[in-house]
C-alpha cells in the first residue's frame, strides 16, 4: 500500500533560520512525491515534486526538497524561513498502480516566529 508519514504535527523556527519539514514514504515502485502548502481558509497550493533525476528538487517560494531513496524520505527545506511561510504543509505520493489516486500525509503546521 502507498502512504506517506509526516512525523511532526508542528515545527517551530525563528525567522531567518533554516527549516525542515519531514516526510517519509512507502510505495511499491518508483515514487512520485509532492509537497503542497495550505494557508488558512485556502485550498492547497503546489510547491514542488519529485519524479526522477536530481535528488534535490527546487520549488516555489525558495523551498526545496531532498529525495533520499535509502531512507525513503522526502524532506522539505528552506535555507532562511520567513514569517509568511507559516502555514500547513502536506506531503503526498501518487499511487503507483492507479495514477488517479494520491495519498496525503497528515500535515505539519509550520510556525515561523519573528
Amino acid at each position: 500500500a502507498q502512504s506517506v508519514a509526516q512525523p511532526e504535527d508542528q515545527v517551530n523556527v525563528a525567522e531567518g533560520n533554516p527549516l525542515t519539514v519531514k516526510c517519509t514514504y512507502s510505495v511499491s515502485g518508483n515514487p512520485y512525491l509532492f509537497w503542497y502548502v495550505q494557508y488558512p481558509n485556502r485550498g492547497l497550493q503546489f510547491l514542488l515534486k519529485y519524479i526522477t533525476g536530481d535528488n534535490l528538487v527546487k520549488g516555489s517560494y525558495g523551498f526545496e526538497a531532498e529525495f533520499n531513496k535509502s531512507q525513503t524520505s522526502f524532506h522539505l527545506k528552506k535555507p532562511s524561513a520567513l514569517v509568511s511561510d507559516s502555514a500547513l504543509y502536506f506531503c503526498a505520493v501518487r499511487d503507483a498502480r492507479n495514477f488517479n489516486k494520491f495519498y496525503f500525509g497528515s500535515g505539519t503546521k509550520l510556525n515561523v516566529k519573528p
Partner: protein, 114 residues
C-alpha cells in the same frame, strides 16, 4: 493562483437537506477530484473523474455522489446531509496524460450540518 472555483465557500444546513457543492475549473483539465479534510488533518480522496462521464469512488467511504457531464464542472451531491458530513471539501484538477499530475486545488467548501 489556479483557475478552479468552489461554491459556496461556507454552508450551514440542517440535517436531512439535500445539498450540492459546486466545482468548476477553466484550465481544460480532464482529471478532477474531491477530497474531504477535517480541520488541520490529512486529505481523504472521496471521488475522482478522469474525463466526461467517468467517475470513481476514492478510498474514503462517502455517502455523496458526483457527476461529470462537462469537462469543467464536477459537482458533489449529498442527498440527505447529516452532522457526520461536517467537514471541509476540497476540489482539485490535473491534466490527463502528464507524468506528474500536479493537482490544482480550489479554496474549499466548509460544510456544517446541524
Amino acid at each position: 493562483e489556479a483557475d478552479i472555483y468552489q461554491t459556496p465557500r461556507y454552508l450551514v444546513i440542517g440535517t436531512g437537506k439535500k445539498i450540492t457543492l459546486e466545482c468548476s475549473q477553466t484550465m481544460g483539465h480532464d482529471k478532477m477530484y474531491w477530497y474531504q479534510q477535517d480541520p488541520g488533518m490529512e486529505l481523504h480522496l472521496i471521488h475522482y473523474s478522469y474525463g466526461v462521464n467517468s467517475t470513481e469512488k476514492g478510498d474514503l467511504s462517502s455517502e455523496s455522489t458526483v457527476s461529470r457531464i462537462r469537462t469543467e464542472h464536477f459537482p458533489l451531491t449529498l442527498e440527505s446531509a447529516r452532522p457526520s458530513h461536517t467537514s471541509q471539501y476540497l476540489c482539485a484538477s490535473s491534466e490527463r496524460g502528464g507524468r506528474t499530475d500536479t493537482q490544482y486545488f480550489g479554496p474549499g467548501t466548509r460544510l456544517t450540518v446541524l
